[in-house]
């Protein structure tokens, strides 16, 4: 018999305490005497030391000692070693990154895992971890699927290690701190890893792995199409490519890397304009500084006196209905604020509190304080956003806030918030969030079986590459989520079987048969016997 915690056996020393205690408190032997007449006249005294040296070993004391000994034994965790192999807790972590789809490696990972679970890991307690897309524990291998984005394995391995003795990662490159099954495939992949498009220029970054080569890049926008042969250095060296032109009227630019390779997902990229190229802002009320600040924002067309617009501003009067309306109130009960609440909203980014309160502010009336408080000065709500209308109660005199740098910064924020990049050529990447223009939070169509999320605030996050269709204020817009990730461009990886022999004698532990329960039961029995005996004696 062995013990899990032999140190607990030191508690057997408590038997000595029991013996000492029993010396002091020996149960009096019951004796019937003909009369107590004389005994009662004899004064009571404590037992002399001489008497303590010769304790009477009673059965009751023996049972108590046995109960303590059994309890200590139970606490020490006694066990008997068996020859039955102990089930190890092993976590199998799968790399579901986009590149693993090259060469059918997702299915190969499943197959390798099955072989292990039915072979050397049979009888072990296996758990499966993968990012699909969030890092999580899978119920079974059938839930495993690849995603069209990069997966960072580090947090996944860390999570898997929490409850496992061994971690085996299925991927295509070595992972520190874990055993791995490496599944490589054909190399030589060429990929588009970056795309940006402005009104005047298209910029792309390309990369090829393996040998240097020439690749044909096709660019399409509107009725135009060009094809250009690009020399790629190979071995993963990236190369930039740009094309200048007038793309101001272009709704969509599409790049395609022609030619066969084993991984087509990173051969295309698209930039899409999700709204009109210009933002029309209508301003009602006399406020020249405001018109100048708005006019300074690129792509903004200021239309004084109102009219149909994406952004409308009303100075001391209700603004017209628009994607975003701003109602500027002359402050009532004006005060110079001493402390401002945190400025974390996109609309307040870059603003300096000392400039905001330079000319004084006023608390919004209760009716306009509803919604999300944006500007809070001295505990009073000065600005609030609710139901598409932003209320502000700040002095706009030329010598106040309007004369500070925070003023044009604020209106730049307002335009960005109202348009949300609707007028620019946007590129959506898988695995990275993208804020859709206001009013675009309505997805009409997505690829079959696509993994994506779309928040109520219009934040879109796709894990499946392909075409998505949104309904915007300007009609339906098609966007394409592309991989565009250099980390996923090298599909070759390394092929290597499991770098750990689960069947090695040193790796195998044998099951222990715990005897703690028996010892605890025995302790209970001794305790009951001691108790019963004591009752009987009394």
């Amino acid at each position: 018999m062995s013990f899990e915690t032999p140190g607990a056996l030191w508690a057997l020393a408590s038997l000595a305490l029991l013996a000492i205690f029993s010396l002091w408190r020996q149960a009096a032997a019951r004796t019937v005497v003909p009369s107590l007449l004389l005994w009662k006249k004899i004064p009571e005294r404590n037992p002399p030391i001489k008497a303590l040296r010769r304790p009477k070993w009673r059965l009751e004391l023996l049972f108590q000692a046995l109960a303590i000994a059994s309890l200590v034994l139970a606490l020490a965790g006694p066990f008997r070693q068996t020859l039955v192999p102990k089930a190890r807790k092993i976590a199998l972590v799968f790399d579901t990154s986009a590149r693993m789809q090259a060469g059918g490696r997702i299915e190969r990972m499943k197959e390798e895992a099955r072989k292990l679970s039915q072979g050397p890991l049979a009888g072990d307690d296996l758990s499966f971890f993968a990012a699909v897309p969030a890092p999580q524990r899978l119920g079974s291998l059938s839930e495993l699927r690849g995603i069209d984005a990069h997966v960072d394995l580090e947090p996944l391995v860390a999570a898997a290690r929490q409850g496992a003795e061994q971690v085996i990662v299925f991927t295509d490159r070595p992972v520190a701190g874990a055993h791995s099954v490496l599944l490589g495939t054909a190399g030589g992949n060429a990929a588009l890893t970056e795309l940006t498009a402005t009104e005047e220029e298209i910029f792309a970054r390309l990369v090829a792995h393996g040998e240097p080569r020439k690749a044909v890049l096709r660019v399409e926008w509107g009725p135009h199409r060009i094809e250009e042969t690009v020399s790629l250095e190979g071995k993963g060296t990236p190369r930039g490519w740009f094309h200048k032109g007038d793309f101001s009227g272009t709704e969509e630019i599409r790049l395609t890397l022609l030619g066969e390779d084993g991984f087509a997902m990173d051969n295309t990229a698209r930039a899409t304009r999700l709204g009109p190229a210009h933002v029309v802002a209508s301003v009602e009320g006399e406020m020249p500084l405001l018109q100048r600040a708005l006019g300074a924002v690129p792509g903004v067309v200021v239309r004084p006196g109102g009219g149909e617009a994406r952004l409308s501003v009303g100075v001391d009067r209700p603004p017209r209905k628009a994607q975003l309306s701003v109602w500027l109130h002359s402050p009532e009960g004006r005060f110079l604020p001493k402390a401002w609440g945190p400025l974390t909203h996109p609309l307040t980014q870059g603003l300096r509190p000392v400039e905001l309160g330079q000319g004084g502010v006023g608390e919004l009336v209760a009716e306009f304080r509803q919604g999300e408080p944006l500007l809070v000065a001295d505990g009073k709500v000065v600005g609030a956003l609710g139901k598409g209308i932003l209320h502000l109660s700040i002095d706009l005199a030329p010598s106040g806030w309007a004369s500070t740098p925070s003023f044009p910064i604020f209106w730049k924020n307002v335009v960005d918030f109202a348009s949300r990049g609707a007028g620019t050529l946007s590129v959506i990447r898988t695995g990275q969030p993208y804020d859709l223009p206001t009013g675009s939070a309505d997805l009409v169509r997505s690829p079959a079986g696509a993994i994506y999320s779309l928040s109520s605030l219009g934040r879109f996050l796709a894990y499946t590459a392909g075409e998505y269709v949104f309904r915007t204020p300007d009609g339906e817009r098609r966007v394409e989520a592309d991989l565009l990730d250099e980390r996923e461009s090298d599909t070759a990886g390394i092929s290597r079987p499991l770098d750990w022999n689960p069947e090695a004698p040193g790796e195998r532990q044998f099951a222990r048969r715990g005897l703690g329960g028996w010892a605890a039961s025995l302790a209970l029995v001794w305790l009951i016997l001691a108790w019963a005996l004591q009752r009987r004696t009394e």
Partner: protein, 249 residues
Amino acid sequence: MLFDDAFLRKLETLRFAVRRSIVGRREGERQTQRRGGSSGFISHRSYTQGDEFRAIDWNLYGRLGLLYVKEFAKEESLPVRLFIDPSRSMAPKFDFARLLGAALALVANQEGNSIPLRELEALELGSSFVLPTVGRGLAIVVSDLWDESLRPSLSRLHCETAVIHVLSPGETEPALEGKVRMVDAESGESCTRFVGEEERAEYRRLLALHCAEWKRWCFDRDVNYLRCTSATPVEEVVKVYLREAGVLE
């Protein structure tokens, strides 16, 4: 056989030694101060009408010319009452007490009493011990005298009384050792003491005082007091102790 032949023969030679005048109903062997009878001369008295004619002392009449009647002591049986304490405290010495009682009953019966031995046999341990009022004769009380309420009962016995104080060896030399919870056999009351040599010596001293007190009490009331232990053979108690104490002769 309760007793062997030799002891039974010895019992036949024994009789109760009585210090007081006693009056019995039946005529027996015991000589009393009751006038009459024919055995021992006691005194003369003047003749009165009705006296037996043969009782007149004619020799005295010849010398004095007066009629005197001779008076003789009357031989009567001695009523003996035997009281054995059956209380629970007597448990360790009850058999001894009954055996002693049987021996005394045999002596009493040969003096004209009729104490049935069956009653002794039927006596049960644990019943209460009550002494009735006895006017004459001899009362023999066998008890361990732990019950202080016995004193008034004994005082009410207006007759020759002998108290045989029986103690068991466990009472005279208690074998208790260590921490002991002692339970009173009579009342069930208990007390716990550590008993060592010191306590045992103190107990022996208190017991000696207790016995001396009873002896003094009996002496003051003209009561015969005899102490013995139940370990002593009954024969020895009867032949030696009781004779030395003046209960038997």
